[in-house]
């Protein structure tokens, strides 16, 4: 440990010289930038721009068409970007909604013990039914489309965060400083807001971000199975299910690039979440 300073100074690359917090922030910044760029790009792509062009059918990837073209001559790159943008938006909607549900349930549980047992039962109930089945049911029940899928994903993904928050809040509620606060005559709501919230905000932020990848993947798979977004929307799930038919004819690019792009987006969220966790976690915050 005494010679640690020597180690650091002997490496002259600028990245190695940065402290961990700078590196972490840089990683987070980069991932967030890419994600925002994807969404903004997709917003500028008008669905009408994805024109059919039968002169350029089934072309392999080239500089003109980075991801190639499909059987109707549509540019796959544009379609993928539009689809990704949609995925991220649905993911954002679904994860924010599900953490709002989780926060409300966890805090309500902390204030009333009868409601708390009910919430615990609800969590178990939702966890005992397969996710994908529930999403399909809710999505169809709510009329399908982007709204249906978002709600379907949101209403199935609040369970794990609720569990974490409940456990965390329970533990904080037994701490001496909360008990003392009660002796000072503070109400449970005041304690929840002032004492508990600052201590669980990290879990909430990280939890929300880590729901993203799940939400995106589930949205894509439900759509792929034909229960999600309507076929005329350029969603990744639709692209993948359509391209299935053409894979046998050798048009590998139709599935590979959109699939890869989806995977990268999911990974980016995972990286962002893990790094934010590292930054906010007191045990690693000073490294």
């Amino acid at each position: 440990m005494a010679d640690k300073s020597k180690d650091v100074s002997s490496i002259y690359s600028p990245i190695a010289k940065m402290n961990l917090r700078t590196k972490t922030l840089l990683t987070i910044g980069l991932t967030v930038f890419i994600l925002v760029a994807v969404v903004i790009t997709s917003l500028f792509i008008n669905s009408a721009d994805i024109t059919t062009n039968f002169n350029a059918m089934n072309q392999a990837p080239s500089f003109e068409h980075l991801f190639g073209t499909d059987w109707m001559g549509r540019d796959m790159f544009t379609r993928t970007m539009k689809g990704l943008g949609l995925s991220v938006q649905i993911g954002a909607g679904a994860s924010i909604l599900s953490s709002v549900i989780a926060i409300i349930l966890a805090f309500v549980g902390s204030i009333n013990s009868k409601l708390d047992s009910f919430i615990a039962w609800l969590v178990d109930l939702f966890l005992s039914v397969p996710h994908i089945l529930l999403i399909i049911l809710i999505s169809i029940g709510l009329g399908g489309g982007a709204f249906g899928v978002t709600m379907g994903v949101a209403l199935t993904h609040w369970t794990s965060l609720t569990r974490i928050l409940r456990a965390e809040i329970k533990q904080i509620n037994t701490s001496e400083f909360v008990k003392l606060s009660q002796r000072f005559g503070k109400s449970k709501i005041w304690i929840a807001k002032k004492h508990i919230l600052p201590l669980v905000i990290t879990q909430i932020i990280v939890g929300t971000i880590l729901i993203f990848p799940h939400a995106i993947m589930h949205e894509a798979s439900v759509t792929f199975l034909g229960f999600g977004l309507s076929p005329h929307e350029p969603a990744i799930g639709i692209i993948l299910s359509e391209s299935m038919k053409y894979l046998a004819t050798g048009n590998w690019w139709l599935a590979l690039f959109p699939g890869l792009a989806l995977l990268i987006i999911v990974l980016l969220f995972d990286i962002a979440g893990e790094n934010i966790k590292k930054l906010l976690d007191p045990t690693s915050a000073n490294e």
């Binding site: 701490s175 001496e176 400083f177 008990k179 003392l180 606060s181 002796r183 000072f184 005559g185 503070k186 109400s187 004492h195 600052p198 201590l199």
Partner: protein, 204 residues
């Protein structure tokens, strides 16, 4: 003023045996009382019962004939041995202190608290400094009775004198009641007018 515990018995929900049995304890604000006994025999639990931390005990606790309030400021305040446990680690010291009341500068200097500590987090101060905050926080004007459970056990002798000196001044000035729980006989003999031996009052 009189803090009176009558026939207090207590056991933890799943325990078979009672920790406290038929304890009667009468305290007033005319003299400073010391409570002495080994650790792990229930002294701390008794302190918590006397200051309203439990509701699931047998017997009664009354301050001047009144039960302790559950939802309002409790006039009997307890000071713990470990100040870092009674402070939210995400709060600055100013917020920690003002959760209870707004302390004037005079008292701050009386307790040796520097204004510059206000912007620090609890983990940035040592046990002695934290205990000053913890004690002063409990000295809300609405506090009538103070129970100090091994309050200075973790501190060095100099800080112990400083804190007790400041507390006793206020206790006398405001005519508050004060119960000092300690295993240190020298300390109890030095500042207490009366001594209660825990084993004598616990009916186990």
């Amino acid at each position: 003023m009189e803090l009176k515990g009558t026939n207090i018995s207590f056991k933890y929900p799943l325990a078979k045996e009672y920790l406290l049995k038929d304890i009667n304890i009468h305290l007033d604000n005319n003299k400073i009382t010391g409570l002495v006994g080994d650790s792990g025999v229930g002294k701390s639990t008794l302190c918590e019962i006397l200051s309203g931390y439990y509701t699931n005990f047998e017997g009664t606790v009354e301050l001047d004939g009144q039960k302790l309030p559950e939802k309002e400021f409790c006039p009997v305040q307890l000071i713990y041995q470990h100040p870092e446990k009674v402070m939210n680690p995400k709060w600055k010291m100013k917020d920690v202190l003002e959760e209870s009341w707004n302390v004037d500068d005079n008292l701050l200097s009386e307790f040796g608290i520097q204004k510059s500590w206000f912007t620090r987090f609890p983990q940035e101060l040592s046990g002695g400094e934290l205990q000053r905050f913890s004690v002063l926080r409990s000295l809300n004007p609405k506090t009538k009775f103070l129970i100090a459970d091994e309050m200075t056990t973790m501190l060095d002798a100099i800080t112990q004198v400083q804190i007790l000196d400041a507390v006793l001044k206020i206790v006398k000035q405001r005519k508050m009641g004060f119960l000092l729980v300690s295993h240190d006989m020298d300390l109890v003999n030095t500042i207490c007018d009366d001594v209660i031996y825990f084993n004598d009052i616990n009916g186990i």
